[in-house]
């Protein structure tokens, strides 16, 4: 699939016929000679390559931060790309000034990424607080400053802007007025509109037969593992296909489109209604730029044994809808994995929907994850638990465990044992022994097998300690 891509790069409209699987980072540095965006790791773990992508959604210009090293340029068609160069004004912006004055930069290699993330925070959000402003940089790694000067910067700017944000200005007007953004941002929406009108015809590609090429859904893992192979192959971008994104409630089910991003799940009012702690769970999943790109379908199909979204959907006993050009079928997620990275999925099938029953009144959910670093890290072990109770008795329980088997594991026997039992420390301890027979962890960089066994037991305990504090006596479990 060769085609022309049109987009706005900072203030200029550009066209390229580069391979759509080329990373945006390589395009920026090698083709556009914009070297403020750096390559630090090429796996989305450092944030030196952070850029903003603006997109017209329902006639609203919406921005998000992404790791340009993992974003295929095919995905920026008809969008606005903002690099550090595109944030510069003649004088330093207030964010840049504070970064200098507060010691927020030392060697300078990570700095453009931080400035882009923080500037993006004010552009993306409607009201501001320091905690969220700092969190917007959760995908940016700095080895020099210890982050103290960067946090002081975020605090100062937020204090200044949060009062102003309450006025009725349009956000872009406000930020241009405050010199956070250059003036050209005022015209971007119009420019994008005319770009879309002109080039309308070049994006539709409804071919669902994907054999012999890479299908990229987000690409936050595929672009890490296979970026050199991708450049030699045809690629299809899920973003171009008619794969649904979004979350809806329908007939006592929640249905999630395969192209839905982790950020969309995090921000979904429907998810928040049934899972009040969803934001906290998602905060452990990855950095903001990764969550802005990674999709539910990609996470499930990638079949990583420690996939975080998969962990949650397993415990919710979700059903997957797989579709090819002619037909579609349904399969339970817990039956989807056949072995390490092998799936009950034909090459020409796409995962289009994930659905699960809306939790009932007496049901509870919890998600646990431990990694070497709490945020922006891959789990040593993760686990989700969905439980339906009748007072102190268990009606039904579904438990998932990641990092302890070649596949994201559904703990069938443990769940079976617990069903209809009365919750107590003793029962939980007994169940934790059954659990040990269901798992087969290996030693690797994320922990020894011995540790993973112990950790899963502890996380299993943690589910119950957290959900049923009155029924569990901690002293009996330690």
């Amino acid at each position: 699939m060769k085609r022309r891509l049109n987009f706005i790069l900072n203030k200029n409209e550009v066209e390229t016929s580069q391979h759509p699987g080329m990373s945006l980072l390589d395009y920026l540095r090698q083709e556009a000679n914009l070297t403020g965006t750096k390559e630090g790791c090429k796996e989305g773990d450092c944030g030196t390559c952070t850029v903003l992508i603006g997109e017209l959604i329902k006639d609203k210009l919406q921005y998000k931060s992404v790791n340009s090293c993992l974003l295929p340029i095919g995905d920026v068609n008809q969008k606005h790309i903002v690099t550090i160069e595109g944030l510069n004004r003649e004088e330093l912006t207030p964010i840049q000034t504070e970064m200098v004055d507060e010691g927020g930069t030392q060697c300078g290699f990570c700095t453009p990424g931080f400035v882009v993330s923080l500037s993006g925070y004010y552009l993306i959000n409607d009201d501001y607080n320091t905690e969220d402003a700092i969190d917007s940089m959760n995908g940016n790694i700095c080895r020099c400053t210890g982050y103290a000067g960067i946090k002081r910067t975020a605090n100062k700017i937020t204090q200044r802007l949060k009062i102003l944000a309450k006025n009725n200005h349009s956000k872009i007007e406000l930020l241009v007025g405050e010199k956070i953004l250059p003036e050209y941002f005022l015209d971007v929406k119009e420019k994008l509109n005319s770009l879309i009108l002109q080039k309308k015809s070049n994006i539709t590609d409804d071919n669902l037969d994907f054999s012999n090429h890479f299908t990229i859904s987000g690409g936050t893992d595929l672009m890490v593992q296979k970026w050199e192979d991708i450049l030699k192959s045809d690629v299809s971008l899920i973003s171009d296909k008619n794969v649904i994104s979004g979350i809806k409630e329908e007939n006592s089910k929640i249905i999630i489109g395969g192209a839905t991003t982790a950020s969309e799940i995090e921000d979904s009012p429907i998810m928040a209604k049934y899972f009040p702690e969803i934001k906290e769970y998602l905060s452990l999943f990855g950095s903001l730029p990764i969550k802005n790109t990674a999709t539910v379908a990609g996470n499930i199909v990638n079949a990583s044994p420690i996939a975080d979204m998969t962990s949650i959907f397993l415990a919710l006993n979700s059903t997957l809808t797989l579709r090819n050009s002619n037909s579609s079928r349904e399969i339970l997620l817990k039956d989807f994995y056949k072995g390490y990275k092998t799936l009950d999925k034909k090459e020409n099938e796409l995962l289009t929907l994930i659905s699960f029953n809306i939790p009932k009144e007496n049901s509870f959910f919890n998600y646990e994850k431990v990694s070497k670093r709490k945020y922006l890290d891959i789990a040593s072990v993760n686990s989700s638990l969905f439980i339906d109770v009748d007072e102190d008795f268990i009606n039904e329980v579904n438990i998932s465990a990641g990092g302890v088997a070649p596949i994201p594991l559904y703990l069938k026997e443990t769940g079976k044992f617990l069903s209809s039992k009365k919750i107590s420390s003793a029962i939980i301890e007994e169940a934790s022994e059954i659990l040990q027979d269901e798992i087969s962890p290996i030693s690797d960089a994320r922990g020894t097998a011995e540790y993973k066994r112990l950790l899963l037991r502890q996380l299993f305990y943690a589910h119950f300690i957290k959900l049923f504090p009155k029924l569990i006596v901690i002293e009996e479990l330690v």
Binding site: P112, I134, Y451, L455
Partner: protein, 759 residues
């Protein structure tokens, strides 16, 4: 004063090696590495690799025109392995191609035939096998045997500290092109331009004057680019020389992690003797340093471990022995602290053990044994201008140690799952290169006819703000607007025979050299001014904020005018000056001397909360009193402290370098090797500058700052450990860093848990 480099950084306009414009036709390189940790190379088959379109050359040891040798202190390391390989990732061939993807593809297609040899990764096993890079060294003070006999308490233990990946955000790299006369010009991301020049000249078999090395700035170094930037520059230069084309080599992150050395892991034994009052009477330590497969800087790192084996304490009887152990890992190298942190972790462990066993508080023992003015270190130097006790007292007062303790105790008595702990860490760190000859630097200062000033020194800007400090020195001497002053790239043709930017010494050495050169120029300018103003005493002339003064009286002469007059008067507006640190010496045959110009002091306190169900933890706060001398730039100095602290905490907590028994690095990417992120770094970091503390041995009374704060991070290990003890007093916690969540959980539940693998 604004930090000029920072202004470029925040706009993304500062350039690094890979950002510099390269000529059309520049070729890209990729290093083909040994897949095994130890073996003889029987055959290398490059047929398939050479068939790839776009491959221009694959260079091996045979293609090196000069000497295939990159060793610095000891000549024991080849640029490209010839007959044997000694670690996974050792460069064997250098592929040069049209682009990096092609070069990488070709490198993967090179086929090797090895005869495998036994692999050693453990330093104690290496020592047993006699694999030592140099004979063991011992520092001694008093007589430990006699002293132990008189102690009320004697404790022994084993301590291990892990490696640490530098994780400079800019990976290693260089760009080289051929110049006429058979030379090369190299742009390198190095802390040691002269090391790059020397190694490249040796590899190419040409004199050093034919190799020009230029360093604009580097995207972090932390020691990792002191010696280990040289091979990549030498390879790029080799390619450029042989192909007569510009060649660039940037290591991809995972390769950088795999093939470059790290902070040295240590395994150590201690024996500590105290009296009932908690006074330390005797201390013995044996250090087994995991040097990796070649010497690199290991012997110097090991020496600093010995220098700092008693940290901030006076112990009258000390015996410390250190083994530099050769293993089949990538050669380990300099890393901020340079062996000091490893030595300090052992003595702090010994004190913690003594405190636990004696039922005393660690802080009490620490305080009781702090150094006082005139106390002797095991290496013979007596401490002068000692401020460690002052820092300790300030810390207790400013941060109210008693309140912290009470708050922690209250929390612990009302929480079951979560426990808090805190720990105090005093740091006394010697400032100077311990190899005396390296304590020299020079500066070249030009004043142009428009009054703009250009300064070249040996210092490499790597984020530590050395350029800004040098600018501050020049600004103070000339008393002109700092906008006039530009700090140039570090270039071996402008400033020769440079010591690397390391040992926290760059601002001291190059600052002094700059001060001297500027003073030479100022002296000339004063004479010109005196002549112009018809004043006999040129000593009465001064410049105050751009204006020429005579005996504190303003004249009509400005700096601009004065420069013009000087030029037309044919007065040289350029000066070069050299500085060598006075009064330092060290005799390795006796292991005694005065190696340090002075010491840096400070005390830190770290608080942590441990989730005792999940084994995770949070660092709550870091509070520090540090002696900065009279700071040349408080924003920069504070940043150095904050950054160093977090790097030290990282080393002690989550940063885990894991090799398997075959010497393969398991933590070879940012997805598996974790450093502190914005959330792990505590919101409450307080760094207080010790007041009224001028340093007579630093430029304008300033003090070195690069390395010392890293060691406050050691308190994080003990804070977590202390919290764990509050959950289970009886749990046996090894003195083993990093204290990963895995170590926490396994230590807390080791005795209660029998988890069998499923049948």
């Amino acid at each position: 004063m604004k930090n000029y480099d920072s202004i470029e950084h925040v706009r993304g306009e500062s350039l690094f090696v890979d950002d510099q414009l390269t000529p059309i036709g520049t070729l890209l390189g990729y290093v083909a590495c040994s897949p095994i940790a130890h073996g003889r190379i029987k055959n290398i088959d490059m047929t398939k690799a050479l068939n790839i379109k776009g491959v221009k050359a694959i260079l091996t040891a045979k293609d090196i025109p000069g000497e295939n040798q990159i060793g610095g202190i000891i000549k024991d390391e080849e640029l490209l392995a010839d007959k044997e390989v000694h670690f996974v990732g050792q460069p064997i061939a250098f592929v040069v191609a049209d682009n990096q993807i092609i070069a990488h593809e070709a490198a993967e297609l090179i086929e090797y035939d090895f005869e495998k040899l036994p692999v050693i990764t453990d330093p104690r096993k290496a020592a047993e096998a006699g694999e030592l890079i140099q004979p063991p060294r011992t520092f001694k003070l008093g007589n430990t045997d006699e002293a132990f006999a008189k102690c009320d308490f004697v404790f022994e233990g084993k301590v291990e500290s892990g490696g640490q990946e530098h994780l400079y955000l800019e990976t290693q790299g260089a760009f080289a092109y051929p110049v006429e006369g058979g030379g090369v010009k190299i742009f390198s991301s190095t802390q040691g331009p002269t090391a790059v020049q020397r190694v490249t000249a040796r590899i190419l078999g040409i004199p050093m004057h034919k190799v020009e090395v230029d360093v604009l700035r580097i995207g972090g170094g932390f020691g990792g680019k002191e010696d280990q930037a040289s091979p990549w520059a030498a390879l790029a230069a080799l390619g450029a020389k042989i192909l007569n084309k510009p060649v660039k080599l940037i290591l991809p992150r995972q390769q950088d992690m795999k093939i470059t050395g790290k902070r040295h892991p240590y395994s150590s034994d201690f024996k500590i003797g105290l009296n009932k009052e908690g006074e330390i009477l005797a201390y013995e330590a044996v250090f087994y340093q995991n040097a990796g497969a070649a010497a690199d800087l290991s012997t110097a790192v090991l020496e600093r471990t010995l220098f700092h084996c008693t940290n901030s304490y006076f112990i009258p009887n000390v015996k410390a022995t250190a083994y530099c152990c050769r293993t089949n890992l990538p050669p380990n190298t300099a890393f901020r602290g340079f062996g000091g942190p490893q030595g300090m972790f052992v003595i702090e462990s010994a004190i913690a053990k003594a405190a636990e066993e004696m039922g005393m508080s660690t802080v009490e023992i620490q305080k009781k044994n702090l150094l006082d003015e005139g106390d002797e270190f095991p290496y013979g130097q007596r401490i002068e201008h000692c401020r460690i006790r002052r820092c300790f007292t300030e810390l207790e007062k400013k941060y109210n140690l008693y309140d912290i303790k009470k708050r922690v105790d209250d929390f612990n008595s009302s929480n079951k799952m979560y426990k808090k702990g805190f720990a105090v860490m005093p740091v006394t760190f010697g400032i100077s290169f311990t190899s005396t000859f390296m304590n020299q630097a020079s500066a070249l200062v030009h004043i142009y006819t428009d009054g703009s000033i250009s300064i070249s020194t040996a210092a490499v800007e790597m984020g530590q703000g050395v350029n800004e400090k040098i600018r501050a020195v020049a600004q103070k001497v000339f008393s002109v607007n700092s906008e006039r002053i530009k700090i140039e790239t570090t270039n071996t043709t402008r400033v020769a025979n440079t010591s690397p930017t390391a040992a926290s010494k760059a601002a001291d050495l190059n600052g002094y050299a700059t001060q001297k050169a500027c003073e030479i120029l100022l002296g000339r300018l004063k004479k010109v001014a005196a002549k112009e103003l018809n004043i006999e005493q040129h000593n009465n002339i001064s410049i105050q904020q751009e204006i020429i003064f005579n005996k504190d009286e303003k004249t009509d002469l400005t700096f601009d005018k004065l420069i013009q007059i000087a030029y037309f008067d044919r007065i040289s507006l350029s000066a070069q000056a050299h500085h060598a640190t006075p009064h330092i010496h060290f005799d390795k045959t006796k292991e005694k001397g005065q190696p340090f110009a002075y010491h840096a002091y400070g005390v830190g306190i770290v608080e942590a909360t441990v989730d005792c169900i999940r084994g995770t933890y949070k660092i709550d706060s870091v509070k520090v009193i540090h002696d900065f001398g009279k700071s040349l730039h408080p924003v920069i100095d504070k940043g150095q402290a904050e950054g160093g602290i977090i790097q030290g905490i990282g080393w002690m907590t989550m940063e885990e370098v894991l090799y398997n028994e075959e010497g393969q690095l398991l933590t070879n990417a940012l997805s598996t090797y974790k450093i502190p992120d914005i959330h792990f770094s505590p919101d409450d970091i307080q760094v207080h500058f010790l007041e009224d503390a001028p340093n007579p041995y630093g430029p304008f009374n300033s003090k070195a700052i690069g390395e010392p704060p890293l060691m406050y991070g050691i308190a994080a290990y003990f804070a977590i450990r202390n919290a764990m003890k509050k959950f289970k007093a009886e749990c046996d916690i090894e003195f083993k860093a990093p204290m990963t969540p895995e170590r926490v959980l396994l230590s807390l539940y080791q005795k209660t848990t029998v988890l069998k693998p499923a049948n």
